[in-house]
Structure formats: C-alpha cells, structure tokens
Symmetry: C2
Subunit: 210 residues, 2 copies
Amino acid sequence: MTSRKKKEALDTSTEEKIKVAARTVFHQKGFAATRTRDIAEEAGINLALLNYYFRSKEKLFKLIMLETVAGFMGGMTIVFNDPDTPLEEKVALLVDRYIDTAIAEPEIPLFIMSELRNNPHEFLEKLPIGKMLMHSAFIRQYQEAVAEGRIVEPNPLHFIMNVIGLVIFPFIGRPILQNVGSLNNQEFEQLMQQRKKLIPVWIQAIMKAG
Amino acid sequence: MTSRKKKEALDTSTEEKIKVAARTVFHQKGFAATRTRDIAEEAGINLALLNYYFRSKEKLFKLIMLETVAGFMGGMTIVFNDPDTPLEEKVALLVDRYIDTAIAEPEIPLFIMSELRNNPHEFLEKLPIGKMLMHSAFIRQYQEAVAEGRIVEPNPLHFIMNVIGLVIFPFIGRPILQNVGSLNNQEFEQLMQQRKKLIPVWIQAIMKAG
DNA sequence: GTCTATAGGGGGATAGAC
DNA sequence: GTCTATCCCCCTATAGAC
C-alpha cells in the first residue's frame, strides 16, 4: 500500500491528471469554448483517453462544475452555519477566506456565474445552499441584531448581496478594473489584500445606515 | 424621404432586424455557445442573409460587443465627467440609472464580463473609458473630499468598485440569489428597486468609515 | 436582396491495434 | 490502459438560382 500511495503522490493517476486539466481549461474558457482536444493536450494525454475515463465532454463538465460550485459555496455555508462566531466575526472570516481563495483561483467566480446562467436548476438543485443558508445560525443572529437595533435593514438578502458583492465583484470585473486603474497583476492583488481589512469596516458602517 | 423613413419605422430594415436578433442571442448565450442559425431564426430570415450583411459570425459579434460595452460604460463616464453635480448626487444618479438599465436588460452585465475575459484588450483599447474616468471631474471631487476629510479611503478605485459592485453584482449572481432567497422574478425586481434608495445611503456610510 | 443547396472544416466520439 | 486513425455530425460560410 505504501508503494501505491507513493506512486500516486509522485505521478498522479491519469484520471486525476485529466480532471485537473479539465478544471483549468473549463474555468478559463467555459464549457462552450472548450474543446476536448484542449483538455487532452493540457493533460498530456490522448483525446481517446478522455472519453475512456469520462464518456463525454458533458459528463466531464458536470463533474467539474459540481465540484467547483460545491467547493466554493460549501465553505461559505459552513461559516454562516457556525452558531458560536458572532455576526461581525463571520463577516471578517468570510471576507478573509474568500479573497484568499479568489486570489488563488481568480477565474472561478466568473466561471460559476457564467455557466450557471445556462442551466441554473441543473446544479443549484443538487446543492442545498439555499435552504441551508436561510435556516442557518446566521439568519437567527441577523434577526436578533435587527431586533436589538444594531442593524437597520431588516432583509438579510441585502446583507448577503453586499458582503459577497464587495468581495467577489472586483474579480469578476477584473479586466475593466485593471484597465481603468492601469494596474498590473501585482497591483491588483495588493488592492484585494487591502480590501480584507476594509470590507469588514464598511459592512459595519452599512449595518447602521440601512 | 418621408416614405423611406416611414417604411423603416413600420418595418425595420433587414440589417437592423439581424442586429437586434444578434444582440438578443449573443447576450443570452455568449459568443461560443451562439450558432448563427439561432440568430437567423430569431431574426426571421435566412442564414445566408446574415453572411451577406455581416460577412462572418465574428464580425457581427465584434460589432454587437462594441456597441454593448460602449452603451453600458459610456453612460457611466458621462455622469462621472459632469463637473456640476456633486459627488453624492453622482452616486445617486449612477445607481438609479444603472439599476434601471440592468432591470431592462439583465443579461448585459454578465455578458460583458464573460466576453471580456477572452480578449480584454481587443475591446477595452478601443474605448478610452480608463483614461476618461481617471481624469474626470469625479476624480477631482473625490480628492477634494478626501482632503476635506469627508472621505477616509484615499484610493478612488475602491470607491468605484464598491458603487458598481453593489449595483451590478446582484444581476450577475442572480440565479444564486433567487435560489437562496426563493425569489421569483417579480420579487427579485422589487429587491433591486429597493436598492436604488439603499445603496446611496450605504455609500455615504462607507465614505466616512474607510 | 433573399432564398435553397451544398461545400468545407472542426470537433466529439469510437474502432481497433498494441 | 493508451495510442492512432477515422467516422460523422454540426456549424460556418459560400455558390448560384430567382
């Protein structure tokens, strides 16, 4: 068993190589613009192998899409669900975490939004983020804060939109932003790092201004 | 000349019909997923006519893309550039205007961001939004406000990201938002209408909290 | 200008050898 | 399991009649 583990660690399995390549290419170009030949080349294997392992382009895509959405949104719901961290801390955690992951894989937010436009039900139905979120500890905490007058706006959806929007939108509008501000990649990343500290402060201000 | 005008008003020219159809389909599906047959059908004409008027799918797309980006971003720079409206009023104008246009054509924000990912230079170079914006009356007003202590955060890029993000992100994340909040289209639109009044207030709060 | 018919190429998928 | 070669459909673009 040691040797098997070693082997997979040193040189990952073909199936895994294809999945990694598929993630990369799909995330960059989206489903429609991706050719299975691109994925095969990226993986350093032959086109036939892709169909041998995953049957079809569509099957492979659905796999990658589900994993990507689950990975990205899943972390979010975990943070929202924890009853022990107060609202303010939740925001700081979310902002910090999502700016880091978005810096690491900047194509993911736009990828998810673009591909979700085509068949939203297909993927959202399989992932109960909606119900999970609206029945989470976050919602209770939010309602308490409204009742205690610490938050003015009673609808938590506005709050969610604001937090996620402030964090993620710069990554979606990145080409425009870099053009407007004449930013290279490093300067862009510095700006995002700044926002880790700024956004929680802004959210605090928004809460009291609803 | 009267008759010619009348004719075009009653029943628009074939060229125009194709362009309108191309806008619709491209905006919904993006370049890669759009088939010229879809456009022809949407326009109620034959496929050959599309090539007769526009030479190729790519030429037609670039035309639509440029018009769309120019139309969407152009209105923004005009508002930013006006030296007579103070900063606070600019925000209110922008928010009001862009929520209305995004409600009217909700696919445009995501369309622009998605297609810009492929070849950002191709389109952004042709539209001097960057230089126009960074040398506009808005920038001067912003710096004044910073100098007078009315705004804490010195970098106007954060301000721009925040305003645009708060306005546009809900339209980009629409499927997720509607899923999370169990919203039908009417409820979604009501939420956006609410934000016309809320966002300017929030921006005021953010200014003083940087 | 508008149509029908078709050429031509690209890309997903498979057959079959190794 | 992995490769080469190839099938075949779909989609863009054009030829040519009207």
